[in-house]
């Protein structure tokens, strides 16, 4: 009896040791020509440059094979319309109206608010905010979603159990449960593109450089990210939640959430 227990114990100790050994001699999991530790990617957005053409939302769906249904977006555009204050109301700004028909994918239809009632209107592109303290990775029960060493937040589709906790925990509505894979899905910062030296699809396609993309560890000459923070006063979305988004917005209005 005691011998059996001893044997089981010895076996238990041997198993992790064997695994560690196997790991040491098997090849690493990193792609051969890309070293994640040598990069730190980031995207920033300039609200004043967005013209609401919707090419980014469309390109994202094409590039990442996002489910076609009009409710699944890894990036989308919101239109904010701030009306003039109602007569006799002693305020500066009136009602705020927000819409995002089909995520802005096909452009925006003319607004229902007549032009002379509009005080101010603008478009805001949305995507994963790449939080420093990301609530989605914090709450994943199995480690299926994670911050990569190079700054993206990914979902492991073969490990995700589809509980939806990360979707509830994301304050920005950037995640959804894919009806095809039954796993959580989100903006990957086009990880398959940036690791191949390409820009994310939305950045590539944006006609006005409203989206600025770069590598914090390897700034290039006239680095767009450095120029962006040099030129603009920046803000983040929902800063009070302490998620500390790395994605910065320039010219953000207080109504944007």
């Amino acid at each position: 009896m005691l011998a059996t227990i001893g044997g089981v114990f010895a076996g238990l100790l041997a198993l992790p040791a064997a695994r560690a050994l196997k790991k040491k001699f098997s090849k690493t999991t990193a792609p051969s020509d890309y070293d994640a530790s040598k990069h730190k990617w980031l995207m920033c957005l300039d609200v004043d440059k967005c013209i609401g053409c919707g090419l980014c939302a469309d390109a994202c769906k094409t590039e990442n094979h996002v489910p076609e249904a009009p409710h699944f977006f890894r990036t989308w555009i919101e239109r904010y319309i701030i009306k003039k204050p109602a007569p006799n109301s002693i305020t500066l700004r009136g009602e705020v109206m927000v819409d995002s028909p089909n995520g802005g994918r096909g452009g925006f239809p003319p607004s229902l608010v007549p032009r002379d009632e509009i005080l101010k209107a603008f478009f805001v592109p949305k995507l994963c905010n790449l939080c420093e303290a990301s609530p989605c990775t914090q709450v994943c029960p199995v480690g299926a979603t994670f911050d990569t060493p190079d700054g993206a937040v990914l979902v492991d589709p073969t490990y995700c159990i589809g509980c939806g906790f990360c979707i509830q925990a994301c304050p920005y509505g950037c995640r959804f449960l894919s009806p095809e894979t039954k796993t959580a899905e989100k903006c990957t910062l086009c990880y398959h593109r940036i690791t191949r030296g390409l820009k994310p699809a939305c950045v590539e396609i944006c006609p006005t450089q409203a989206r600025v993309f770069g590598d914090l560890k390897n700034p290039i000459e006239d680095d767009p990210l450095q120029a962006f923070v040099h030129k603009n006063k920046v803000n983040t979305l929902k800063p009070h939640l302490g998620t500390n988004p790395r994605v910065l917005y320039a010219n953000l209005d207080k109504e944007v959430r």
């Binding site: 927000v98 028909p101 029960p141 199995v142 159990i161 509505g173």
Partner: protein, 411 residues
């Protein structure tokens, strides 16, 4: 890529008011009726266990007739507690990963361990020590499959000497003492799953675990009253009215504390009126009127508070028959009210957009993984299991040593 301006018309889904993030519209509601049942069932477990520990730890003699019954109730419901969760996962076959690679920063990851601890280290052990003597006895007297089950359950320990039984009793008592914080842990932890989500102002709340624990106690005691009365009615046995009075008393005290804390939460929310308060207020009035105002507040809290409170003061003046009827009504009202409360927490958190600019509604469907049909099946499963457990372990014809609702010698 279509480069044509095809979708020029705004697509506005009819069941949204205001603006919601596109992804919220797509997977709405992500957590449906199954996730409503999960905290409900878990709460009933914790409450029924605390009810039982009143006898074991606090030596409330009057409650002895429901001691074993409430433990078995807790077990029957605990066995079903994980089922709604499993059914709702996108990949139930991967659920084992929660135990294999638990991500310790996630409130959900510890569930497997808390559940296993509670099931095996608390509930099964306490039941085993309490029933061991009977298993040995029944194993010798009962023929066939029944006898075999009892003999298996002794795990080969047949020592029923006074010394061994004294040890059983002592261990059972220790487990009960460990069990109370464990029951609080089990359900407070379920509350923390919601309370920890800071992205959602309806959920992210420090006293959510406390509200969950208190409402769990209330619902658990109500369930014990309900099951005790139904069982007695089925067996055509007289109720122990003294036991019912004491259960009613504890139910009243638990309900007072629960209602106070929930009212405190409501007052704090209304008074501080933080970001998102107005959209939540609108949502509560438009989408939760029947479950919150009518179900949770009126039927689930105020009515039972009034009736039970009156009975505490004027018990002597109410005839037994009417009192029994009132206890039964209160128990049913509270069971419904707590179910409504779980609905309000889980669904309420998903009825408004995290953009705080719009509300959504939800049509409960009949079929499907989130339909009410599956919900009813899952909710009736513990009752079926409980029936089997009662037939096996609380049978009227088998002489027992422990506390049984209807003992042969107890008219």
């Amino acid at each position: 890529m279509t480069l044509q301006l095809t979708s020029i018309l705004a697509e506005v889904a009819p069941h949204f008011d205001g603006y919601v993030y596109p992804n919220e519209a797509g997977t709405h509601p992500l957590w449906g009726v199954l996730i409503v049942l999960y905290p409900y069932i878990t709460g009933l477990v914790a409450g029924a266990f605390i009810m039982a520990s009143l006898v074991r730890v606090f030596r409330v003699k009057a409650l002895e007739p429901v001691y074993r019954l409430s433990l078995l109730t807790a077990l029957a419901f605990l066995l079903c507690a994980t089922l709604p969760l499993l059914c709702h996962l996108g990949h139930p076959e991967r659920s084992y990963q929660i135990m294999i690679t638990p991500h310790l920063t996630s409130p959900m990851a510890i569930f497997g361990f808390v559940y296993a601890w509670y099931l095996m280290a608390v509930l099964l052990l306490e039941l085993w020590f309490d029933f061991r003597e009977d298993f040995v006895k029944w194993g010798q007297t009962e023929p066939g499959l029944r006898g075999f089950i009892y003999r298996t359950l002794t795990v080969g320990v047949t020592d029923v000497s006074d010394k061994a039984l004294a040890l059983d009793h002592k261990l059972s008592w220790i487990i009960s003492i460990i069990g109370i914080p464990s029951a609080f842990l089990l359900h407070g932890y379920v509350g923390f799953i919601f309370g920890s989500i800071k992205a959602n102002p309806w959920w992210g709340n420090a006293i959510m675990p406390i509200i969950f624990i208190l409402s769990a106690m209330v619902s658990g005691i109500a369930l014990c009253i309900f099951i005790y009365m139904v069982l007695s009615w089925l067996r055509r046995r007289a109720l122990d009215v003294r036991c019912l009075d004491v259960m009613g008393m504890f139910l009243f005290y638990a309900l007072v504390i629960d209602a106070t804390v929930e009212a405190l939460d409501l007052i704090h929310r209304t008074y501080s009126a933080q970001e998102g308060f107005y959209v939540m207020e609108f949502m509560a009035q438009e989408r939760l009127f029947f479950t919150l105002t009518i179900g949770q507040m009126l039927i689930g809290t105020l009515l039972p508070l009034l009736v039970l409170g009156t009975l505490q003061v004027a018990r002597k003046f109410v005839p037994n028959g009417i009192r029994i009827g009132l206890y039964f009504t209160c128990a049913v009202c509270i069971l419904l009210g707590v179910l409504a409360m779980r609905w309000n927490v889980v669904m309420g958190g998903q009825f408004f957009s995290k953009s705080l600019r719009g509300v959504m509604s939800y049509k409960l469907e009949f079929a499907g993984a989130e339909g009410w049909f599956l919900g009813i099946i899952l909710l009736s499963l513990p009752f079926i299991i409980l029936t089997v457990l009662i037939k096996l372990f609380l049978s009227e014809r088998m002489p027992t040593s422990g506390h049984v609702p209807h003992r042969m010698d107890n008219p």
